[in-house]
């Protein structure tokens, strides 16, 4: 059964079982591979993307629940890695293996939309993704820098 999804500002007509997790529609039917699979049960956050402003763990959400909503993936954050969050992430050389980092960035993206000036406690509460390499120290610093860069951008 076909359905439409709005991903990174483009409409895609998907011919898939609408119950297919959103993650797999995006990775396998659309071909955007920046969003990662890791646990499949919504525990780790590697599959985090943004649906109507909310961070969503896409491995555990049927694709049809996103019909009519605006989906943003890591690829949609900027065409060239120039979004302030990505810039901040690069500044701290944050990723190690990098596998969780799309999800981390998308969690930070949702947090900063909601709280432009997050405290450490806000970060702890909102960024509950898993990083096995242990890059948390740099992720925290990068989120604070991204908040500053975004404030400057708005000025």
């Amino acid at each position: 059964m076909a359905f439409d999804l709005n991903i990174n500002g483009m409409r895609h007509n998907i011919d898939a079982d609408p119950q297919t997790p959103l993650l797999w529609v995006i990775r396998d039917y659309i071909g955007l591979t920046g969003t990662k699979f890791s646990c499949g049960i919504g525990q780790c956050g590697a599959c985090t993307l943004n649906v109507d402003g909310q961070a969503v763990r896409s491995c555990s959400v049927p694709a049809n629940t996103a019909v009519g909503k605006r989906i943003t993936t890591i690829e949609g954050l900027s065409p060239d890695g120039s979004h302030p969050i990505q810039v901040a992430w690069k500044e701290f050389d944050t990723p190690q293996c990098g596998y969780c980092q799309s999800g981390m960035i998308m969690s930070a993206f949702a947090l900063l939309q909601r709280r432009p000036n997050p405290s450490d406690a806000d970060i702890n509460a909102a960024v509950t993704n898993i990083c096995r390499c242990g890059t948390y120290h740099r992720i925290r610093q990068a989120i604070h820098l991204a908040a500053d860069l975004m404030k400057e951008g708005r000025r």
């Binding site: 991903i7 483009m10 895609h12 898939a16 079982d17 297919t20 997790p21 797999w24 396998d28 039917y29 659309i30 071909g31 955007l32 591979t33 920046g34 969003t35 990662k36 699979f37 890791s38 646990c39 499949g40 049960i41 525990q43 780790c44 590697a46 993936t73 890591i74 690829e75 954050l77 900027s78 065409p79 060239d80 890695g81 990505q86 992430w89 690069k90 050389d93 944050t94 990723p95 190690q96 293996c97 990098g98 596998y99 969780c100 980092q101 960035i105 450490d120 970060i123 702890n124 509950t128 993704n129 898993i130 990083c131 096995r132 390499c133 242990g134 948390y136 120290h137 740099r138 925290r140």
Partner: protein, 784 residues
């Protein structure tokens, strides 16, 4: 063994695929039509595997394009440790090219095996680990046709990624590779201008003849250099650390821009034309097989193409480890394959003696093995006499559980088998072993096997020693002509990985009247195949004890064990450093002073460096200054190789830990003193590795354990196998580096092990309770 249906790769895709499979070129990354518009817009995914270059290479490591882009071939696999950058730095230092124009790419495993290393890389100059101008002591195993230990005279010398050795083993010949290319570029320019080479200088990819004011770029002269052999390459020398300009500076990792944009192609992201997906279930009890399965029950489900049974992968291909047989379902999309597999009835054939294992009876077996005679590894002085003289005897038994890597990217591999060629796309730390597996399973000669390396979503100890590749090859071999992408679920990844062996150590010390040890007996126990990679470490010899006996004891278990990050050293440093603190408390002596004194009594060549590490870490931490109630500091030494006068890595850490009355542990602060040896290639990478290993060993200390029930692993996803979040990461980390007089032995897997013993000692200091079984999170840590 297979029951497959012919897949219907469409004609255009098939032709492209067949052409690629027969020709010399590797299939490229394929983007589904849906994504074309977006991929163009966003520059798209960036594959990293080897590609033949249209420009002639200067040498096997270096290709310089007319636009001055320098492609540097990397023979180690990037799994987050930064080797993509540090290896490139070692080449570029000598090449003297513009760092901003460097693009790493994986070396070809096929060429590595087929071509012999240049003669000038084969002999290490210098005077071992103590010579700053020398090559150190790159370590290569004996020649092994399977590539398990590497092929010492293969083109890239060492095409595997393990034992924190990429920089240690690679530095000498990677610098040489850069130097050889630089010399030939200079030679080519000198010939073109008909001037003396000595009149030329090279900097940032530009060659200058100062006398005449002429310049050329590497890109312009590279073609000529490629055709200009060096007359005596064995005379080429490498720069010593005092001459480094790029090495030793903090360089951001070259793959980070792609990683933050979601463009990096990991194994899971590989797409090739006509590809089908495989989901698998292996028997959860190791050594088990499939008794029956009913494909008819799911055959009609959407996208489903075929199903097949596969046997236990040949242990000769998995370093003797016995995994399980299983079933695969192949479908158009992975989620279709997984959904069908989940609904397909499967009956397992489980050997009853393997199903009889559970954590409790395995623990009993380990304890029983202590009582049996072990293999005595060290026996100095007269231990029994000394115990008889001791004023006080302290004894402790510690345990560590089975632990997996649990890397974030689940196991996967994409394989295309045709009648005369195998291609595999995989994130793999030992591609020559995988090449051998491809050949053995398909019967296609090794020279026709191509391993296309991808970045790894975490490695933590040679992730290739799980059977993901072997399973994928077996499935693809039964679907010749169709590329098969196998992907494990997280649950399957917990079955397919190898574990660090569950182990125990019993330490007994006799103290004299002043509290100093005069006798020490150390016994360690684990399953017999856990020894070797898991032990290789002498528990106690860093601290002076005149009478010392160390023995290993074994039993037999069925869980496949392997080289997890830190190997046995991580557990052994937990045992050793925990016990040293216990002895200090028993003696009533400050644990920092106690360690310092016992190291100073040894005659170890690096004892001054160890003392320095302790002194610096203690100083940084404010050691001895009062802390609030419920907060404590603990110190520990970390070292590898310090008993030798060869390569070694020495560090010390002080961990400041708080525990709430309810028993909530918080690692508040870590102070790290770490040696640089003669120099760190990329200090930024070292800092990141130290930071990361704090989280790694914090998890080992607090949260992680795999238990066994009825022969299978119980915790098989992140809801039961806990990995810490950002809120548990220590808010303050301080690092201080100090220079020493030897080359480093690596630091990518065995640093920050002290988190384990330090949290244990802080728990003791704060709560009065001593826990010796990891993880601590399973104990009641409350206090009043």
């Amino acid at each position: 063994m297979s029951e497959n249906t012919v897949s219907d790769v469409n004609r255009r895709e098939f032709l492209a695929m067949a052409a690629a499979a027969q020709g010399a070129f590797i299939l490229g990354f394929w983007v589904p039509p849906q994504a074309n518009a977006q991929a163009k817009l966003q520059t798209g995914p960036r594959p990293v595997w080897y590609e033949d270059s249209p420009t002639p290479e200067v040498n096997a490591w270096i290709v310089i394009a007319p636009d001055d882009t320098v492609t540097i071939r990397i023979a180690q696999t990037e799994l987050g440790q930064g080797v993509w950058t540090s290896n490139a730095m070692m080449v570029a230092e000598e090449l003297q090219c513009d760092w901003n124009k460097v693009r790493p790419q994986y070396a070809s495993a096929n060429r590595d095996a087929r071509e012999r290393a240049p003669e000038w890389t084969l002999k290490v100059m210098g005077n071992g680990a103590a010579d700053p101008k020398g090559g150190g002591e790159p370590g290569f195993g004996p020649r092994d046709p399977h590539g398990v230990n590497g092929i010492p005279d293969s083109l890239y010398r060492r095409m595997r990624t393990n034992a924190a050795s990429s920089v240690k083993d690679g530095r000498y010949y990677l610098q040489l590779a850069g130097a050889e290319a630089r010399e030939r570029l200079l030679l080519a320019a000198a010939q073109q201008w008909n001037v003396q080479v000595s009149e030329l200088t090279a900097k940032d990819s530009v060659i200058t003849h100062a006398k005449s004011g002429r310049t050329t770029t590497y890109g312009q002269i590279a073609g000529r250099a490629a055709a200009t052999p060096h007359p005596n390459p064995e005379k080429i020398t490498i720069k010593s650390p005092d001459q480094w300009t790029l090495m030793g500076t903090e360089r951001k990792n070259l793959d980070v821009p792609d990683k933050v944009a979601g463009r990096t192609v990991y194994g899971i992201d590989v797409r090739v034309p006509g590809m089908k997906w495989a989901a698998v279930k292996a028997c959860p009890v190791y050594g088990g097989n499939v008794k029956s399965y009913n494909f008819d029950a799911v055959r009609q489900m959407p996208g489903v193409r075929s199903a097949m049974q596969f046997p236990i992968p040949d242990p000769a291909l998995t370093r003797g480890r016995i995994f399980s047989g299983g079933v695969a379902v192949v479908a158009d999309h992975w989620h279709q394959a997984k959904t069908a597999l989940d609904r397909m009835p499967i009956e397992w054939d489980i050997p009853p003696e393997r199903a009889a294992f559970n954590t409790a009876n395995m623990r009993d077996a380990l304890l029983a093995a202590f009582a049996k005679p072990g293999k005595v590894r060290v026996n100095q002085g007269n231990v029994d006499d000394a115990f008889a003289r001791a004023a006080k005897v302290v004894e402790a038994t510690y345990s560590t559980p089975y632990l997996p890597r649990a890397r974030m990217e689940p196991g996967n591999a994409t394989v295309l088998v045709t009648d005369n060629r195998v291609d595999i796309w995989v994130g793999d730390q030992s591609p020559q072993e995988t090449r051998f597996s491809c050949s053995k399973i398909t019967g296609i000669p090794e020279q026709n096997v191509y391993v296309n390396l991808c970045h790894l979503g975490g490695g933590f100890g040679r992730n290739g020693n799980g059977p993901q590749a072997e399973q994928a090859i077996m499935i693809a071999n039964a679907h010749r002509g169709t590329p098969i992408h196998l992907l494990w679920t997280r649950e399957e990844d917990f079955i397919g990985t190898t574990y660090r062996a569950m182990g125990m150590a019993r330490l007994k010390a006799g103290l004299d009247g002043d509290g100093w040890p005069i006798a020490l007996e150390v016994r360690t126990v684990m399953q017999e195949d856990g020894f070797g990679p898991e032990s290789s470490f002498d528990v106690a010899s860093r601290y002076y004890v005149p009478n010392y006996r160390f023995s290993n004891h074994t039993t037999k278990f069925h869980v496949p064990v392997g080289t997890r990050r830190g190997i046995g050293q991580a557990a052994h440093e937990f045992y050793r450093e925990s016990f040293m603190s216990e002895l200090a408390h028993a003696a009533g002596i400050d644990p920092y002073r106690y360690r310092r004194e016992l190291i100073s009594r040894t005659s170890l060549p690096y004892k001054d460096d160890m003392i320095r590490a302790l002194d610096i870490a203690a100083d940084m931490s404010g050691w001895g200054k009062p802390l609030p109630k419920g907060t404590a500091r603990a110190i520990a030494l970390e070292e590898r190789g310090a008993e030798t006068n060869r390569m070694a890595t020495i560090s010390a850490m002080v961990h400041t830990v708080s525990i709430s009355r309810e028993g909530k542990v918080r690692l508040e602060r870590v102070d790290i003193a770490h040696e640089t040896g003669f120099g760190l290639v990329n200090p930024l990478s070292v800092k990141k590795q130290l930071e990361g290993q704090i989280a790694w060993f914090y998890n080992d200390a607090m949260h992680q354990a795999n238990t066994i029930k009825d022969g299978h692993i119980v915790e098989n996803n992140f809801n039961t196998f806990r990995i810490s979040h950002i809120d548990e990461y220590p808010p303050e980390i301080n690092m201080r580096f100090f220079k020493t007089g030897h080359w480093l032995l690596g630091m990518g897997h065995d640093r920050s092990t002290s988190v384990q013993s330090a949290i244990g000692d802080a728990i003791f200091q704060i709560t009065g309770k001593r826990f010796r079984d990891l993880p601590y999170g399973g104990h009641d840590l409350s206090w009043t």
